[in-house]
């Protein structure tokens, strides 16, 4: 599971039937400082995340498991909203 920030939305009317009822968001993966890391991706929203919120997302085959119909071609899904983040480094 990784950290990311929701930066936008993607609208699609023609898509595979098994994900018809889900929102698709544009997600920017971030590092522990909140800085962008890599290119933005698309992720299915299973927790009703809002714009600009920091989220936890999963990638790979497991991403379709939170859906009502787990037989769906989804390889990245938002599975949690981050309330706060505390990182301690060895000093």
């Amino acid at each position: 599971m990784k950290l990311g920030r929701v930066i936008g939305r993607c609208v699609s009317t023609r898509k595979v039937d098994s994900i018809k009822s889900y929102k698709i968001l544009i997600l920017q993966p971030i590092d522990d400082d909140g800085k962008p890391e890599g290119d933005p991706i698309l992720a299915l929203d299973t927790v009703r995340a809002g714009p600009k919120s920091t989220v936890i997302w999963v990638s790979g085959r497991e991403a379709s498991l939170p859906l009502d119909d787990p037989f769906a071609p989804v390889d990245s899904a938002i599975v949690g909203i981050v309330d706060n983040l505390e990182v301690r480094y060895n000093e």
Partner: protein, 131 residues
Amino acid sequence: MKLMRVIGSVVSTVKDEKMGGMKLLIVAPCDLYGNPIDVDYKRNVLVAVDAVGAGEGEVVMTASGSSARQTALTKDRPVDTVIMGIVDSLEVGGKFTYLKEGLEITKPKTVMKAEGDVKRKVVKKGGGKRR
């Protein structure tokens, strides 16, 4: 999932038995504006199976890895990239960065707020079939 633009198609006659009956398209990764990304003047193109009926020039979403086998079309087939949706519009920070050709926004207001969702409609020009 990744944003891709369809830039061509593939025809293959000699292939595995399980690969039959699938439309193969060439896709290139693209940015949030729908423009293909060139890395050192090269496009890292992929061959993807089309599960939704995409056409050339359209911006699509692709799923890769073992997730690609999870459609009715690609079940138990040797496939690792599938097109699972056609993108109508992309929106970053309340502004549309990409809008599919032939679409227009009925309410051109700010569409993204910090809290809650704002509903909007996207209709097709020329009385096309609405979904």
